[in-house]
């Protein structure tokens, strides 16, 4: 009887441990499900965004970092993002985009004061850039054309220097080259889903 109880309790505990790991990590191993009505935004496509959210200017390219402070994956690459913003901040405008107002303060704490936090409650920016998961980056050229949309690295923790996709794209952009062609892992969306219930989708 006690053995059965132990087996029962252990099953529950180990399931709970697996559940926690699933909730925090394993579920993000697979690509984020593609939302309905998703429209792929390809490089060179002009991004139409609300200038209330991001000031309109044609002088410098922008990097939008779609960020969710509650998403473990977003925290995995914080250090990498900070190093990018420090390295390229003088030539490129960095924005951190959060999906809700309540996440702004915690995002500010994690990201730091040097990067502007943009609250994209209607997911206008996410939809415009074709982003539906965090963490993802969208690099927009000064001409408002999309240059790159995808992952920072093929590794969750950005430890694979050969797959620093965003960094390579930024280097390429600064060098005035065409957007590089990356493998599927660069653009396949992983991580936490951005809820699109309130999304305003503009069908073109």
């Amino acid at each position: 009887m006690r053995k059965a109880a132990v087996v029962f309790v252990l099953t529950i505990i180990f399931s709970a441990i697996f559940g926690l790991f699933w909730y925090q990590e394993i579920q993000y191993l697979l690509p984020t499900p593609v939302p309905e009505n998703y429209r792929v935004v390809r490089p060179h496509e002009v991004i139409r965004f609300d200038s209330v959210l991001i000031p309109q200017q044609y002088a410098r390219p922008k990097l939008l970092h779609f960020f969710n402070p509650d998403c473990p994956c977003s925290r995995f690459n914080l250090a990498h993002f900070r190093s990018l913003s420090e390295e390229y901040g003088k030539r490129i405008d960095f924005y951190v985009v959060v999906a809700a107002k309540k996440k702004a303060s915690s995002a500010k704490k994690l990201i730091g004061k040097n990067v502007t936090i943009v609250i994209d409650e209607d997911q206008k920016l996410a939809v415009a850039c074709g982003v539906y998961s965090t963490p993802q980056a969208a690099i927009i050229q000064a001409s408002n054309q999309l240059y790159f949309r995808g992952n920072f690295n093929r590794s969750r923790y950005c430890v694979d220097k050969n797959s620093n996709f965003v960094q390579m794209a930024l280097d390429s952009l600064i060098a005035g080259k065409r957007p590089p062609h990356f493998i599927e892992l660069a653009t396949q969306s992983y991580g936490c889903r951005i809820p699109r219930e309130n999304a305003i989708v503009t069908v073109q």
């Binding site: 309790v9 180990f14 909730y23």
Partner: protein, 340 residues
């Protein structure tokens, strides 16, 4: 077996003795591992500060502790909780790797756990640890190597097949060595317990013998006491005897003196009597000689009638008898005198 050249009949450990031995090993091991388990939990909380991994730090850590202590509480006699400890050690290692964003050094926790488990002296405890590591790595590696690229697996910069194989083989080697040490230490512990049992047996035998010797000694002392008492008694008797002997000797000496005195008196008396008898015999001889002379004169000179002759004859006969008697007396007296 032989100890110090003495052959002893060492018995193998019984099931209950083995059980008691294992119970003692487990108790000692628990005293070490349980604080370590608590430290592992605290380490998870500590590293949660780096990337705010509080949910996993508290959640997984608490569940691991709960799994261990619940199993131990519900099945205290079983060693299942040790296998749970082995499993949660692997989970803690995975937790730390997750919390520090795949930091390769966190893999060392698997090795630390493997060495900690040696303390239970049970090689099988390495199995849950290494199996979880192998299954965890193997599953994702398999998915990756069969070309399932959708899995966002790689946490390390390079994890090609060679690296993976080295990774797995070396980790398994650590567990294998730890398992072997655990087994070896257990064998040694059993051997030590066997020696201890034999020595205890010998000690109790010695104690028993010493007790017997003690009893014998007491008996001997009692006998010795008795002998001493008897000896004293004998000595007393001997003294008494000596006193008696002295008294007897004294008496004897007195008696001798008395006898000698008496003998001397008797001798004196005898001598006096002999002298007296001798004198008397001589004195009687003279008248007798005269009587015999007279008889002879009567016979020769006087003519007697028949009756007178007859009387003279008897007179002469009696006088001769008396003469013979006196002669015999003299001879006897002479003999007695000679003897003196």
């Amino acid at each position: 077996m032989k100890i110090n050249g003495l052959a002893t009949n060492s018995q193998p450990l019984t099931d209950s003795e083995l059980g008691e031995l294992n119970h003692e090993i487990n108790q000692n091991a628990d005293r070490v591992t349980e604080p370590l388990l608590a430290l592992m939990f605290l380490f998870g909380i500590f590293i949660a500060f780096f990337y705010d991994t509080w949910l996993v730090g508290f959640g997984v850590g608490s569940l691991c502790l709960l799994a261990y202590f619940t199993t131990k509480r519900l099945l205290p006699e079983s060693n299942l909780y040790q296998y749970v400890l082995s499993a949660v050690s692997a989970i803690f290692a995975a937790q730390y790797i997750y919390q520090l964003h795949g930091m390769a050094e966190m893999h060392f926790w698997v090795f630390i756990s493997s060495t900690i488990l040696i303390i239970y002296q049970n090689w099988k405890l390495q199995l849950p640890l290494i199996l979880i590591v192998i299954i965890h790595h193997g599953t994702f590696a398999y998915l990756q190597y069969i070309g399932y690229k959708e899995v966002y697996f790689t946490q390390l910069a390079y994890m090609d097949l060679t690296t993976f194989l080295f990774h797995g083989v070396l980790a398994s080697c650590v567990c294998l060595v730890s398992a072997y040490w655990g087994h070896l230490v257990h064998q040694r512990t059993i051997q030590d317990a066997l020696h201890y049992k034999t020595l205890s047996g010998l000690k109790s035998e010695l104690q028993h013998t010493a007790n017997r010797m003690n009893d014998l000694n007491k008996d001997l002392m009692a006998v010795n006491g008795e002998i001493q008492n008897k000896n004293e008694e004998l000595k007393a008797s001997e003294e008494e005897l000596m006193t008696s002997q002295e008294a007897l000797q004294q008496i004897n000496a007195n008696l001798n003196n008395l006898v000698m005195q008496r003998t001397q008196i008797l001798l004196n008396q005898n001598k006096a009597l002999t002298n007296h008898a001798y004198t008397n015999a001589h004195k009687v001889r003279s008248p007798l000689a005269r009587i015999l002379g007279l008889v002879n004169l009567i016979h020769q000179e006087i003519e007697l009638e028949e009756h007178g002759k007859d009387l003279l004859y008897h007179l002469n006969l009696s006088a001769n008898e008396l003469d013979d008697v006196l002669r015999e007396v003299r001879i006897e007296l002479d003999k007695a005198e000679f003897k003196e």
